[in-house]
Symmetry: C3
Subunit: 282 residues, 3 copies
């Protein structure tokens, strides 16, 4: 998957991310989201703000065909009703048949008995990308029983081995969200240190990032960028926008509003100015 | 339906809309909404802001009786779960039995296989009003297969014939949302050119307008205003408020917040000052 | 239940509330919410803002075990789908088995035929606290058929006897929200007159308070505060924050944003400065 990602390209991530951001805004990717009831509206607003076209289609009988025409797909397991569980399986089948890239966000996997086997079954379907906090990535890799609900109780570095292992086993790009975002394709490991603590004080701060990853994967189909670049670009755009938002925020409420404004205004040049990316090879 | 709407009354739409806005605030209409999971909270906040009383009752076994006591009803097909599909049919039966005016918003009709036959069945029940973007109105009239999801890929003018045809066939007021809002009862055609592009960057920007139409139809029962006036008044209030909001917005996040503030503060006098309405006869 | 609440302690409610707020922020209680689709996101944001850890787990098969590990539980009946109804019964069983305190918010009980028997069945399970507006408390006590949907059509004082009666019958702390919040354990009665009218112009203004009560009950397990103090503390923190927010708001949209900011910044000292509490004994 990472043939095109040469070592020298990593230092260019902010430049690549800027090009992909421009491509996304020029041709908004139809981003199909099956996500949890808590963050549906915020996720759609995040996608609209950054320049993508959200479609929250989570109905059985519609999800397979829609995943086939979408540019990218997100499956988020935050509140997996029976209808959403069936729709998720449909959508993944539709994505597989059409080559639509898709992101799995295994919210609270490990501790909870319905979503945990569902997440394990979905990861076997080889998602293009997996996004979670450290506890979720450890639990998905079978190395932990997960945090308590949506909290991360493990550090990003503690999940690095699990992330690389998952990436190698399933051919996925794995993104571990935290104070430092770790993103790996199983060979190369990127660490992004942009972002702001207020992202953890807004519900959907992580879930919406999964949707942005799906949108960037959709945009990358048109430009030929690889999946690692697309996922890392989404993280960089999102976390740089979060830094802009934090400058204007008086607390978590005004931060969430300012984040939407910042996602609409963040520019390719901003990514070059602000991006903090390190890379290594496993 | 439009006996009371004489040609000269059209130039008075801003005045009529102001009177209806005042009546709505003096006696908040109980507005029953069965709407999609993405916009439920925003829709309720829009109704509260403008002065109506929202009630998001979408449970089987409660929807029929509640539609009977409500002042107005919205059926929005954005995320039609099996529970919502059954509740919608219940609610429409309750509305019909009690004379409660109701609005159908056939989100993404045409492309998607579950909601499309549902929408076609509901329109046969003769909604008081139908609201959609151009692609949805064309698809509902059977003249197109719809856009891709919630995007409008057709222009308002392209949907004018479909809107008039739907209005004549089902006795509904039909509203086509877009840069220019076209509203028709099948005979008279109003074009409103208020509004702002940021409405398309906020999820629920259109869906919430459907709820406001249901609220104004509820208020119109008390004042004796006809359905065309009620629907056009809702559009005018909403789009003038959007213009006020855009003046204070730094992007889509702050725009959504300012829209709620503006819906609470917009006055009858503002409508007269800012309203841009044209009319014609088919 | 109120052995520890002596008469003199009531005048110290602002001090007790400040201590509990500090305890909550030092050890964020995992707050399990089964709540309605309209306010899920806002409720989670309110909990995050004040310092708690929300988890919106409303799936059958997960709710019982999760209520057992949570610090506090909210059951809100605003949009009780079949899945949520079954999950609520599971969760209450889990809470009972583990001693997890739980709050019942019987939204729109009385008028609506599905939630009304559900609420009556749940109250028999002896919730730690019950929160509603005056109409809902009267309906739950069997003294009224409820308001029209979520509106309160009765005054707080009219519900005082019903609140005391419910509290005595089920061993619950009962909170009646309104311009004055009345909170009773069936013996002592507290009246809090903080707050702001804009809370009624934001959807979830009351529902989110129920979640904050569950969080404070969770925090009280660690500090040994009793349930009356915990519920009253939640109300005081929330309504003092609302006053702070109203000072910065230009309308209901900016108020909701400012409320989240204020919940994050409100301090124990603010409660002492601003708190307005009266007490009596029945």
């Amino acid at each position: 998957m990472s043939d095109r990602l040469r070592p020298e390209s990593v230092s260019d991530l902010p430049v690549s991310a800027g090009a992909l951001l421009k491509a996304l805004r020029d041709a908004p990717p139809l981003t199909h989201c099956i996500t949890n009831a808590v963050v549906t509206g915020f996720t759609a607003n995040v996608l609209l703000a950054v320049g993508a076209a959200p479609a929250m289609v989570d109905i059985v009988g519609e999800s397979e065909m829609f995943a086939g025409i979408a540019s990218g797909l997100l499956i988020n397991l935050g509140t997996p009703t029976p209808e959403q569980r069936a729709a998720s399986l449909e959508a993944v089948a539709g994505a597989a048949a059409s080559g639509t890239p898709w992101v799995l966000d295994p919210v609270a996997v490990g501790a909870l008995p319905v979503r945990t086997p569902l997440a394990r079954g979905l990861v076997e379907r080889r998602p293009t990308a997996i996004r979670g906090n450290a506890s979720e990535i450890l639990a998905l890799a079978g190395l932990s029983t997960g945090g308590r609900g949506v909290d991360a109780t493990d550090s990003t570095d503690a999940a690095a081995d699990a992330a690389v292992s998952l990436a190698q086993q399933f051919g996925s790009v794995v993104a571990v969200s935290g104070p430092i975002d770790l993103i790996t394709d199983g060979h190369r490991v990127l660490r992004l240190s942009n972002g702001h603590e207020l992202l953890t004080r807004v519900t959907g701060g992580g879930c919406a990032l999964g949707a942005v990853m799906a949108a960037f994967l959709g945009a990358a189909r048109a430009t030929g960028a690889d999946a690692l670049t697309a996922v890392a670009s989404a993280s960089l755009v999102y976390t740089v926008a979060a830094e802009h938002a934090a400058e204007k925020a008086a607390g978590p409420g005004s931060f969430a509003v300012a984040l939407l404004d910042a996602l609409a205004s963040v520019s390719p040049a901003d990514l070059v100015t602000a991006g903090r990316v390190e890379s290594s090879v496993r």
